[in-house]
């Protein structure tokens, strides 16, 4: 990708609207290449018309997040799994 990107840290607020835990510190695995790493390390493009997070290894899309009036759309088909640390 040639456009300037931010990273998954920028998803903290928008994902924080949806989830009760901080997802940016979770480990996500890419459905395309299998690389695993912190959501904070994804390459993020946006914010308009929505946030698109790509794998830093293969640049395939792992997440899309669009905030509309009264609802948010989260597309996770590019993510196999999210490992979320939960202190006991």
């Amino acid at each position: 990708m040639t456009a300037e990107h931010l990273d998954g840290n920028a998803l903290a607020g928008p994902l924080g609207e949806i989830f009760a835990v901080d997802v940016t510190a979770a480990t996500g695995r890419c459905a395309s290449c299998g690389q695993a790493g912190p959501v904070a390390g994804l390459h993020v493009y946006g914010p308009e018309p929505g946030l698109v997070a790509r794998c830093p290894g293969c640049e395939e899309v792992m997440m899309r997040l669009v905030r509309g009036p009264g609802a948010a759309w989260l597309d996770l088909r590019g993510t196999v799994s999210l490992r979320v640390n939960l202190p006991e």
Binding site: E4, H5, L6, D7, G8, N9, A10, A12, G13, G16, E17, A20, V21, D22, T24, A25, P38, V39, A40, G41, G46, P47
Partner: protein, 242 residues
């Protein structure tokens, strides 16, 4: 389980000028729940016609009760930053939401030495870590490598000049170095990070923050120097901010 993320009113209490294009906003936020060093907030502006614009800014200091600090660089033509840096006056209000972000944070309980690498306004969350270390009187040693265009771009100049035992600072100037500087102006090199940082076998936690190009270059250099990828945390600021 944490509290639901809500927008809160924030009232500007005080402004500190950092450079000709950046200033620190001291904001009173009733109900602020506290935060970790390195976390950020979303700031939302609402126009008279209801149009809203929001941007994310790093918190520059530990919370002082319900008072928080942000340092904002003007992005020319930006929707949010020119208001914050040029228009907003003490007593004016914006909305903030946070704190958010649990990855690019330093916790005082951590025992590892710390290397902070900041490019330009990427110093802001790193300064929050430096101030938190001082606030809790942590014994963990910190090193800061601060890359900036020229000496006039330096944030927190006076505070960083004061001695802070256990904190070593290296300045890297990319365009114009001060008279008498031993290092010529130029981009960050492996030698800069080897001399200004820690040997990889000390297993320091590395925090790299700045514009995307700077972060990728500096993080790659740290990996080349042998630092483990899981010990190199990055946060990119981009021109899509503003």
């Amino acid at each position: 389980m944490r509290r639901r993320l809500v927008w809160r009113a924030a009232r500007l209490r005080e402004v500190r000028v950092e450079t000709s294009t950046a200033r620190t906003l001291v904001l009173e936020v009733p109900g602020w729940p506290g935060h970790l060093a390195g976390q950020h907030v979303d700031v939302r502006l609402t126009a008279d016609d209801g149009y809203t614009a929001q941007r994310s800014y790093s918190l520059a200091a530990p919370a002082d009760g319900e008072v928080i600090e942000l340092t904002v660089e003007t992005v020319p033509g930006g929707e949010v930053s020119p208001y914050l840096t040029e228009v907003m006056e003490p007593g004016d209000q914006v909305e903030v939401r946070g704190p958010v972000g649990g990855w690019f944070v330093w916790r005082p309980a951590s025992q590892a030495p710390v290397l902070l690498v900041g490019g330009g306004s990427g110093i802001v969350p790193l300064m929050a870590m430096i101030r938190e270390r001082r606030r809790v009187a942590a014994r963990v040693p910190f090193r800061l490598v601060y890359s900036l265009r020229d000496p006039e771009r330096r944030y927190y100049a006076e505070e960083l000049r004061r001695p802070d035992p256990g904190l070593d600072i290296t300045y890297l100037y990319t365009r114009a170095a001060p008279d008498g500087a031993s290092r010529p102006a130029g981009r960050v090199t492996p030698a800069d990070l080897a001399e200004g940082g820690w040997p990889a076998d000390f297993e320091p936690d590395c925090y790299v923050c700045g514009p995307t190009g700077f972060v990728e270059a500096a993080a790659d250099l740290l990996l080349t120097l042998g630092h483990a990828p899981e010990r190199v945390r990055t946060e990119r600021f981009g021109p899509t901010g503003g």
